[in-house]
């Protein structure tokens, strides 16, 4: 059928012509889809506001012959107001959108990815926990089949203690075979908890010395996997002076 309904998170949008926008969506059932929203820049209709990046929407699209579908109806599911009020949280949310945009394939359904993204956005919207983005990146890597090895030395299979994280081999290394970036025990524990189903507890925990380390490692790991830098993360590190 040419007309279809779905749930989607708006990843990005671009101006098109005088008053239209191209909207890139990650949908629940149809993978990554690009659609045209007509007249949204000019009219007073709520359409434009509903289709801003970050929005989680219920949507109807018309599939024509080209690459671009036409968006015919939109209702808001989550607006994530708190994410919009604070430039820093907004940038961190966009880092997650950017990661999904990189990983997702056009029109290839990936429900788990869609659900993961919605959950992460809801979490970040509810509380400004420092590890939401890092946890999302790590879970995304696991979802992509490249979960980091955190239990055995990637060289000798030794059960630790570990001294370094090797990006090329995607895991920890013992003292004897240390190579790559130094890693603390605290960071390894945190990452194990995130990937082992203990995310709730991790997000509740106060910011500790390993928090920043895990944040940096998770970003570096994902960038290594994508073979490119994440623009949103680079922007987060900027300062006007």
């Amino acid at each position: 059928m040419a007309l279809y309904r779905d749930h989607a998170v708006v990843l990005r949008s671009w101006k098109l012509g005088e008053a239209d926008r191209i909207i890139s969506l990650h949908t629940h059932d149809h993978g990554k889809v690009r659609g045209v929203a007509k007249g949204v820049r000019r009219t007073k209709s709520k359409f434009g506001a509903r289709l801003e990046p970050l929005s989680h929407v219920s949507i109807q699209l018309y599939r024509g012959r080209g690459d671009l579908d036409t968006i015919t109806q939109v209702e808001t599911v989550d607006r994530f107001t708190t994410l919009r009020d604070d430039a820093d949280r907004f940038a961190r949310a966009e880092a997650m959108l950017e990661a999904v945009d990189q990983v997702a394939q056009d029109r290839e359904p990936d429900r788990a990815l869609h659900v993961m993204l919605v959950r992460a956005l809801r979490t970040l919207n509810e509380r400004d926990s420092a590890l939401v983005v890092a946890a999302f990146f790590l879970k995304l890597l696991a979802h992509e089949g490249v979960q980091p090895e955190l239990d055995l030395c990637v060289d000798c299979g030794n059960e630790g203690p570990f001294a370094a994280f090797d990006f090329d081999d995607g895991g920890v290394r013992c003292h004897e075979h240390r190579r790559g970036r130094p890693i603390s025990d605290g960071a390894i524990q945190l990452m194990r908890r995130i990937l082992g189903g203990g995310l709730g507890g991790v997000l509740e925990a106060p910011v500790g010395p390993a928090t920043g380390e895990v944040d940096m490692l998770a970003t570096a790991l994902l960038e290594h996997h994508l073979e490119r830098r994440l623009r949103s993360v680079a922007v987060l590190e900027q300062n006007p002076r």
Binding site: L11, R12, K15, L16, G17, A19, V40, R41, R42, T43, K44, S45, K46, F47, G48, A49, R50, L51, E52, P53, L54, R84, D85, D86, A87, F90, A91, E94, A95, L97, E98, D101, R231, S232, A234, V235, L236, Q238, N239, P240, R241
Partner: protein, 207 residues
């Protein structure tokens, strides 16, 4: 079929313009090739003239012709205590049409959009902070677009201007959310300027 390199170069150049896809580029190229020579020459001359004479204002980054500073910055009748911050020069045109604003401007040359790599370093935020530090500015009105990036830009400006003790206000809602400022009609935009709200006050707010 492929075009000669001359024609292809024209199509490619047009295709690099914002909002012009490959098909439009082709259409414009063929229009120009079919048009009388004067028409194409007039266009090329207009581009060359504009590039030669127009630059960005050294103070506010608005378009400026015939000087380091733009006509608004040079106008002694403009109120220097109020600065209206906009994303692009087009927005100045829209606000000037309302005839509601007698202050000066500051053009950020974009909006906060991390996913596009546009952060505080890509916008003219540092220059705005320098102006707030050096000029006699009492109020900064943030008139960025009423959309996601515009609101994020507003909160970014509050973050950096707040410690400087200047009053930061935001044009009132009533503008179509998700829309572009340049499309707002004069009346709505005028009311939005009048009804602006303090985002964070360096001095006690009085509206």
């Amino acid at each position: 079929m492929s075009y000669s390199s001359t024609v292809q170069e024209l199509i490619d150049s047009l295709g690099r313009l914002p909002g012009i896809g490959p098909k439009s580029a082709q259409r414009v190229a063929f229009h120009l090739l079919k048009a009388p020579p004067e028409e194409a020459l007039r266009l090329s001359r207009a581009i060359v003239d504009a590039k030669e004479r127009v630059s960005f204002c050294a103070r506010c980054f608005n378009l400026s012709e015939g000087g380091d500073e733009c006509a608004i910055c040079r106008d002694p009748r403009r109120e220097e205590r109020i600065v209206c911050v906009v994303e692009d020069s087009q927005d100045i045109v829209a606000i000037e049409r309302t005839q509601e604003f007698r202050g000066r401007y500051h053009v950020l040359q974009g909006a906060f959009s991390p996913i596009d790599g546009v952060g505080v370093e890509q916008l003219r935020v540092k220059e705005l902070m320098t102006r707030v530090g050096e000029e006699d500015i009492e109020e900064v009105i943030v008139a960025t677009n009423p959309n996601l990036e515009g609101e994020a830009t507003a909160s970014l400006l509050v973050k950096y201007l707040k410690p400087m003790g200047v009053r930061v206000t935001r044009i009132a809602s009533g503008l179509p959310v998700g829309g572009d400022l340049e499309y707002a009609d004069e009346l709505t935009l005028g009311r939005a300027l009048e009804g602006r709200q303090v985002l964070d006050a360096g001095t006690p707010a009085d509206g």
